[in-house]
Structures are given as structure tokens and as C-alpha cells.
């Protein structure tokens, strides 16, 4: 992969920054749920806030706030946006 160094998991995304979904390493019902909410490869997503104890994290995706636990977010692979790419 060309920019392998830039592939991270969603849970590592720092608060306030945005990225693009690369792939979902989830299975079953959760995968389905996440897909249905529009978190598909290519989607832009921004991490917005964490719960009082640091988990879960709320992400802004397609104009709505969705909270995910870090275990689940860590199975979603994302790519950092290079400068100048469109933000959510």
C-alpha cells in the first residue's frame, strides 16, 4: 500500500480532527449498523467529543453525531486527510 503509514484506526483519531474511512474490520450486526449509518469506505468523519470518562466518543458523520465505543472504533480503519481535502 502506498501510504500505509497514514492508515490508522478511528479510535486513534484525535479530538476535533477529521479523516476518511478506508475499511471496516467489523462483522455481524455491528458492521451492518455502522454501514447503515453511512459509515462506508470513502466517508469523511470527524471526532467531536468524548464521554466524561473518555469513552465512548461521538463522531460527526453525514451531519449527525454518532457515539461509538473505542473497541468498536478501533476496528474501523481510516486515512488522514492530506492538506486541502474537503472537511466535514
Amino acid at each position: 500500500m502506498k501510504n500505509a503509514e497514514r492508515i490508522n484506526s478511528l479510535s486513534d483519531l484525535s479530538l476535533g480532527s477529521a479523516c476518511q474511512i478506508v475499511s471496516l474490520e467489523l462483522s455481524g450486526l455491528l458492521r451492518r449498523r455502522i454501514l447503515d449509518l453511512g459509515i462506508v469506505p470513502g466517508t469523511l468523519i470527524r471526532s467531536i467529543r468524548r464521554g466524561p470518562s473518555g469513552d465512548p466518543t461521538a463522531y460527526l458523520v453525514r451531519g449527525t453525531l454518532i457515539a461509538l465505543r473505542s473497541e468498536d472504533a478501533s476496528q474501523i480503519l481510516v486515512r488522514k486527510l492530506s492538506n486541502g481535502e474537503e472537511c466535514v
Binding site: L29, L37, G38, R62, G63, T64
Partner: protein, 261 residues
Amino acid sequence: MILSAEKKSLLWQNYFGVTIRNDQLSIALAGNPNVGKSTIFNALTGLHQHTGNWPGKTVNNAHGSYQYQKKPFLIVDLPGTYSLLAHTVEEQIARDFLCFANPDVTVVVLDATSLERNLNLALQVFEITPNVIVCLNLMDEAKKKNLVIDVPSLERELGVPVVATAARQGKGLEELREKILQVATGLLQPTPRQIKYSSDVESALKELLPLVENITNNSLSPRWIALRLLDGDQSFLESLSNFLDIDQVSFQDWEESKCAQ
């Protein structure tokens, strides 16, 4: 599904727990959670279904009736779902209702403040039934967020009537009633946008279509069934074979259903 009024009321009674009179025109209210379906339901029927600003307030089918232009309507408030590729109980309830109950009109309620996400469900409904109206609710909230939606061009894109509403303020409901009447009586015939999938999916669909074409007597879109088969959607296939049995065993002659044995 083309059902006679008697069959329909029997089916509704037994499988969806809804009593419908033969002369009533039927409406299903579908949409994502928390978009104001119950609020619209209440406004149309004058009932008081519980509403609340969180996804999942309604978990059961509720139904009520109203009159418009001397025509009686029966309207069913479905649980909110993000998609019809059902995997939870509420999603199954909503999907089975849309697929098998055959309402005369399906109103898909969209949240104007998150159009993209909400269109996902609308586009799925378009694959099941052509008699769809899109109700673009929460227009007041969209305005607060400085979002402007070009309704006529949305109507063109989707191929179905689009009504902008702010249900809590009672705005746009008159037009909604009117459009429901027109679609229910066949005065208006929507031609909902059909999705063209990527080539892989389309060619796989082509392989499957001949096999499913005659499963349901054209009562349910074969393309939709083929899509679910590609999905490997077990729960839909279970429902489908259930309803196929109902369709045939309870409504057709015994003689006929025995012939295969």
C-alpha cells in the same frame, strides 16, 4: 402485492395486528428514528402517540384513522429504522410491513437537517414500492442551521412528490394530506428513482433475476428479492417464505396448493 380488499384486511389483522376496513385507504409512515413520524401521525389523526427527542421512542406499530375530502384513511406509524436491511426487531417490523402489507401509500419522513443519511432509507423504500411520498420534516430546524433545500429539484431527483413540513408547528400538513390523497387514489403516479448499482452487483443481479422472477407472482419487486439474496439477508428470506405461504395457503384453494406434492 395486488390483494383484494378482503384479503388485505385479513392479512393486516392476522399478521400486523391492525384492523382495516375495506373502504379505508392505507398509509404507512416510515423513516429514520427521531425524525418526527409520531408527531406527523398525531397531527394527522388527532391521537396522542408518545413522542420524544431520542431515537427509539416508538417500538411498536401504532395505527389511527382520519378523513380527508370525504375519504377514510388508515395510517400506521412504524418504528424508526436506519435501513430496511433489517437486523433488529423494529427493523423487521417496518420492513415486513412495507414489503408484505402493501399500503396504498408509503410516506417516508426525512430529517431535513441530515438529508444524506435519511435518503438512504428513502432510496431503499423506492425499490419496494412506487407509491411513495417524501415528507421533508424538521424544516424549521434546518432553517435554524442555515440549511437550504431546493424542494422542486429534490422532487425531480427523486421522482416522487416531496412535501416540506414542520410537523410540530403544523406547517405543510395540509399539502401532505392532499398529496397522500392524490397518490392513494392514483391521481398522481410517482416514478421513484431506482438505484443503478456498481457493475459487479448489476451483473450478479442479472444472473439471479430469472430465478426469482416468478416467485411472488410479481407481487414484490424481483429486483428487491434478488438484492436481498445477494445480501444473504436471512431474516428477509424467512419473512418472505412465511408470507408466500400465507399468500398461497390461506388465500388460494387447497387443491391448488396440494399440486406440488
